[in-house]
Symmetry: C2
Subunit: 196 residues, 2 copies
């Protein structure tokens, strides 16, 4: 076979396409069926490629996990209005939507289970940084250091914990209360004021 | 073989022992190695029973998951002193200890992944109720309804989210801040006061 520059460009395009197809198929299996069925056989069938192709490029199961996680899109963030309460509520609703629509909870659980592997841990850090970055930036106007860490984890928690612990997501009212609790503690909203 | 009452009592003892042994072995595999290796072969080898015995009593993988989860002990709770701040801090530290020592995070993730099955969902509800019951009771002195739900999820979140999102657990100082944030919002601690 020719090894000329045209051939190489074709190869590159084909490999990139295979990678994208298999990555999206792996992510689909992971989010719709869980981490358990994320096998070469299942992903090959979902992607419409042979198992041989998958084993050649991604020999271990962790390679499939990594590929799936690399295919996770960025979480959509709203434009900040400068109203901390409204902006935090909008962020938590986006996070809730990502759990319902993109099964971000399944993705986070797969990340946690495989994060002993450095490559997966790096992807997790990037997804988490993207996910909570806007909320962190808003809260940084009112708190810093360990107090900021606590507030960020608490607001992530109001969305993640119901998903993990009750198999549900919080209502608008629960999200409003969570944001109000943090902003009351930081002196942004007077404590006497009703929460919602 | 005799089917008399003595024989039956022996059988009962043996079945109960097998159930306990296999349950603890399944829980050990789940918490030390994750949900993925929780297979009949792996649990049989860990428990020192034959695969045939396991398949006979617990034919499906979900049966092994259920058995493992039934073997989860109750989370230790401290005695309430009446000081909401101290009692909540003690609860969150117990929760943190359960994540480090008993890998409660792995257990929660397995519960979440299998909770579409009613039997697993029932076990999850019982573990979660036990886990957050004391914190909920303390907070119920200051809040109710959706505001109480938000506060409970936020305090669980300050422990669960770092485990899930950064592969770590919160420091004492972060836990103190989280409790202070909630109690400030509820008017128990003055907002002007330093957090820790």
């Amino acid at each position: 076979m020719s090894q000329g520059p045209d051939r190489t460009a074709d190869d590159d395009v084909r490999i990139a396409r295979t990678r994208r197809d298999v990555g999206l198929a792996a992510l689909k299996v992971l989010t719709e069926e869980g981490g358990d069925p994320l096998t070469h056989a299942r992903v090959a069938s979902e992607a419409g490629y042979s198992r041989t192709t998958l084993y050649k490029h991604w020999p271990a199961r962790v390679d499939l996990v990594t590929l799936a996680l690399e295919s996770v899109g960025r979480m959509p963030h709203g434009r900040r209005t400068g109203d901390a309460r409204a902006d935090l509520v909008a962020e938590l609703r986006s996070f809730r939507r990502a759990i319902v629509d993109a099964r971000l909870d399944q993705i986070l659980m797969a990340l946690a289970q495989w994060a002993t592997i450095d490559e997966v841990a790096a992807i997790r850090d990037s997804i988490v940084e993207d996910g909570e970055g806007v909320a962190r930036a808003i809260l940084a106007d009112f708190a810093s250091g360990d107090e900021l860490e606590a507030a960020v984890a608490m607001l992530s928690g109001v969305v993640v914990c119901p998903a993990l612990m009750y198999g549900t997501v919080p209502s608008d009212v629960v999200i409003d209360h969570a944001v109000t609790i943090v902003l009351k503690a930081f002196g942004v909203i007077p404590v006497g004021q009703a929460s919602t």
